[in-house]
C-alpha cells in the first residue's frame, strides 16, 4: 500500500509532465525537451519568493513567471522558424533546456532546496486505508486531479480551448476559420509552462528542487506521454500513474541506483514494440511519423 501510494504520487507528477508535452506537441508537433526545466523553475522561483511573501502568493507568482518564460521561449526560438525539421527542433529545445539549467545553476547555485510543507511538517501524517501518508501527498494528488479536470473543461468548454483543439486537428482549416494559429502556439507554450511550474511547486516539499532536477522528470514524463499515446491526455494520466507504480515496485526489488534505468528500459521497449502507445489507436499511429 505504501509503495502503491508513493508510486501514484510520483506517477501523477509524471502525468502532469506528460500533459505538458502533449499540449505543445498537439499545437506545434514539437516535443519540448525543456519541459522538465519548467518544473524546476516553478519550484525554484516559489522557494525564493516564499521568504518574502505568503506561500500561495509565491506559488501563484512563480507560475506566472514561468509562464512568461514559456512565452519568451516561444517568442525567441519558435515563432519565426518556418517549417523546421524535427532534428532542428529537437536539438534546439535541448539547447534551451541546457541554457535554463545553467542559468538556474548560476542564480540558485547547486544547493538542494525545498518549499515548506503546505500543511503540517515532515512528520505529520494522516492515515488512509491503513497506510500513514504525509498530507503533502494529498496536495500533490489533488493538484494533479485539479489540473486534469480544469484542462478538460478548458479544452471542452471555452472558446480558446476549442480554438486550440481546432489548431491541433488541422492548422490550415483553423486559420481559415479565423483562428490565429500563431497565438494558439503561444498560449500552448504558456499553458504548458504554467502547469509544469505548478507541478514543480507541489512536489518541491517532498522531492526537493535542484537546478538539474528537470532532466529526469522530463525523460519520465516523455515515457509517460509515449506510453499513453503521444497527444492523448487521458492516456498520459493513466500511463504516468502506471510508470510511477512500476518505479516504486522496482525500488523494492532492484538497487535504487537502477531506478531510472528501469523506466528507460520500459521506454525503449514501448518505442520498439508499440510506438503508438498503449492507448493510441493503430490507425492514427500509422499516419504519424515515428
Amino acid at each position: 500500500m505504501q509503495y502503491l501510494l508513493s508510486g501514484i504520487t510520483t506517477g501523477s507528477i509524471y502525468a502532469i509532465v506528460a500533459i505538458g508535452f502533449n499540449i505543445i506537441y498537439n499545437t506545434t508537433g514539437i516535443i519540448n525537451f525543456a519541459q522538465g526545466e519548467f518544473l524546476m523553475l516553478g519550484g525554484m522561483i516559489s522557494i525564493s519568493l516564499c521568504s518574502v511573501m505568503p506561500l500561495p502568493l509565491a506559488i501563484a507568482l512563480a507560475v506566472a513567471v514561468t509562464a512568461a518564460v514559456g512565452y519568451c521561449i516561444e517568442l525567441l526560438f519558435v515563432r519565426w522558424i518556418h517549417n523546421p525539421t524535427v532534428l532542428r527542433m529537437v536539438v534546439m529545445t535541448i539547447g534551451i533546456s541546457i541554457l535554463i539549467r545553467e542559468i538556474a545553476l548560476h542564480v540558485w547555485d547547486e544547493k538542494v532546496r525545498s518549499l515548506p510543507y503546505f500543511t503540517g511538517n515532515e512528520v505529520t501524517s494522516v492515515s488512509i486505508l491503513g497506510a500513514r501518508i504525509s498530507p503533502q501527498i494529498l496536495w500533490v494528488l489533488g493538484t494533479c486531479a485539479l489540473i486534469v479536470v480544469l484542462l478538460n473543461l478548458f479544452y471542452g468548454r471555452t472558446l480558446l480551448g476549442k480554438a486550440m483543439r481546432a489548431c491541433s486537428a488541422n492548422r490550415m482549416a483553423a486559420s481559415l476559420c479565423g483562428i490565429n494559429a500563431g497565438r494558439m502556439v503561444t498560449v500552448s507554450f504558456m499553458l504548458s509552462a504554467a502547469i509544469g511550474a505548478l507541478a514543480g511547486c507541489v512536489i518541491s516539499p517532498m522531492t526537493q528542487t535542484q537546478y538539474d532536477c528537470g532532466t529526469s522528470l522530463a525523460i519520465k514524463g516523455f515515457t509517460a506521454a509515449i506510453f499513453g499515446g503521444l497527444g492523448s491526455s487521458s492516456g498520459a494520466v493513466i500511463a504516468g500513474l502506471l510508470i510511477g507504480v512500476i518505479e516504486a515496485v522496482s525500488i523494492s526489488v532492484l538497487p535504487l541506483a537502477y531506478k531510472d534505468a528501469v523506466t528507460l528500459t520500459l521506454l525503449l521497449l514501448i518505442l520498439v514494440v508499440r510506438p503508438s502507445g498503449l492507448f493510441g489507436s493503430r490507425e492514427a499511429g500509422a499516419l504519424k511519423e515515428f
Partner: protein, 354 residues
C-alpha cells in the same frame, strides 16, 4: 586528389602545432590536444551518423564510456583473485592474460592490449547492433528520446555497478604498451608519441570516413537523409545502411574512449553522461552536420578550449548556447558560404534600410 591534399594538410597542421608549441615552450598544450583528438574520433563517427545519414544519437557518450570502461576493467581488475591458479596459468600460457603489476606495484594479471582493444570494439559493436536494430526504425523525436534513454541507461549502469567503480569511476589504469617504443599513457615523457598516435588515429578515421562518404555507401546514406522512402524505392537497403553507420560510429567512439582511458589513467561515469552526448551533437551541428572537416575542426577547437578550462563554470552553458543559436540562425553550420553571406547582408542593412 583534393582529399589527399586535405589529409596532407591535416598531417602538416598536426606537425606544425607540435613544433609551434615546442618552440613556444608550451608542450603541455599537447596533452589537451591529444585528448581533443580522442574526442574528435567520436565527433567524426557522429558526423557520419547524424550529418550524412540524418539519424540523431543522443547517447554517443555511452559508447565512448563503454570503450573506456572496457579498457579500465580489463587492465585494473586483477585476475589473480578472480580465478583459480590452474585456470589462470592456462590463460597466461595462451597469452590471453599477462602477469604484471598493478599501479601500486603488487603482482597482478591483466588482459594484454591486443586482446582488450578488440574486446572493447566488439563490446561497442555488439551493443550498437542490439540497440540499433530496433531503435533505428524510429524517427525524429522518438529516435532522439530512444537514444537519450539508451545513453542514460548505460550511464546509470556505470554509476550504480561495483565493477565499474560506481560514482568514483575507475582510476589507476596502467599505461599500455602498444608497440615497442609506443606506450599510451599520461607520463610527461610519453607526451609527444601519444600526441602523434592520437592524431594518427584521427587521420585514419578521417581517411576512412571520407572514403565512405564519397563511395556508394556514402551516397546511399545521403539519400536516406534526404528521404528514406525515396532511398528505399531506389533500392537502397535503408535499415542495413543505418545500422552499419551506427555501428561504425559506435566503434569510433569506443576506440577513442579506450585510448583516452589509458592516456588519462582512469575514467568516470560523467563520460557517459547526457551532457557529453549533447556536447558531441552540438559540435557536429556547429561544424555543419554533413561536413566532416567542419566537425573535426570545431570539435578539436571547442574540446581544446573546454579542456583548457577557458569557459570556466560556464562550460555546459557555452555548448547549450551554441546549440540554440546555431540551430536558430544557421542550421547548416557556421562554415557555410550562405551563412557568411547572410551575416554580411545583415551588417550592411542593419541600421536604417528597410
Amino acid at each position: 586528389m583534393k582529399r589527399f591534399v586535405a589529409i596532407g594538410a591535416l598531417a602538416a597542421a598536426v606537425i606544425a602545432l607540435h613544433l609551434l608549441f615546442a618552440a613556444a615552450g608550451a608542450e603541455y598544450l599537447l596533452v589537451q590536444l591529444t585528448m581533443a583528438a580522442y574526442y574528435a574520433l567520436v565527433v567524426i563517427g557522429l558526423c557520419l551518423l547524424m550529418g550524412y545519414a540524418g539519424q540523431i544519437s543522443l547517447g554517443h557518450a555511452a559508447f565512448f564510456a563503454l570503450g573506456g570502461y572496457t579498457a579500465a576493467v580489463l587492465s585494473t581488475n586483477s585476475f589473480t583473485q578472480l580465478m583459480g591458479a590452474p585456470a589462470l596459468e592456462r590463460l597466461v600460457h595462451w597469452g590471453l592474460v599477462t602477469a604484471g603489476t598493478d599501479a601500486y606495484g603488487a603482482a597482478a594479471h591483466q588482459v594484454p592490449v591486443w586482446l582488450s582493444l578488440p574486446l572493447a570494439v566488439a563490446a561497442a559493436a555488439a551493443v550498437a547492433l542490439v540497440i540499433g536494430i530496433p531503435v533505428l526504425k524510429l524517427k525524429g523525436h522518438y529516435l532522439a528520446m530512444a537514444t537519450l534513454g539508451f545513453g542514460t541507461i548505460l550511464y546509470r549502469i556505470f554509476l550504480g555497478t561495483r565493477l565499474f567503480g560506481e560514482a568514483d569511476g575507475i582510476s589507476s589504469v596502467r599505461p599500455c604498451a602498444l608497440l615497442p617504443g609506443l606506450t599510451i599513457g599520461g607520463d610527461t615523457a610519453l607526451r609527444t608519441q601519444n600526441y602523434y598516435f592520437a592524431w594518427a588515429l584521427v587521420l585514419l578515421a578521417m581517411v576512412l570516413s571520407l572514403n565512405i562518404v564519397s563511395s556508394r555507401a556514402g551516397r546511399a546514406l545521403r539519400s536516406i537523409h534526404g528521404s528514406e522512402e525515396a532511398a528505399a524505392a531506389m533500392g537502397v537497403n535503408t535499415a542495413r545502411y543505418k545500422l552499419y553507420v551506427f555501428i561504425l560510429s559506435a566503434v569510433f567512439a569506443a576506440v577513442g574512449g579506450f585510448f583516452m582511458t589509458h592516456f588519462n589513467g582512469g575514467i568516470g561515469p560523467a563520460e557517459a553522461g547526457i551532457m557529453k552526448s549533447v556536447r558531441y551533437v552540438a559540435i557536429v551541428a556547429v561544424g555543419g552536420m554533413a561536413n566532416l572537416w567542419g566537425s573535426l575542426l570545431i570539435g578539436v577547437l571547442l574540446n581544446f578550449l573546454s579542456l583548457r578550462g577557458i569557459f570556466g563554470s560556464y562550460d555546459d552553458a557555452v555548448f547549450g548556447a551554441l546549440l540554440v543559436f546555431i540551430m536558430a540562425l544557421a542550421p547548416d553550420g557556421i562554415l557555410r558560404r550562405e551563412f557568411l553571406h547572410r551575416i554580411m547582408r545583415v551588417r550592411i542593412r542593419w541600421p536604417f534600410s528597410k
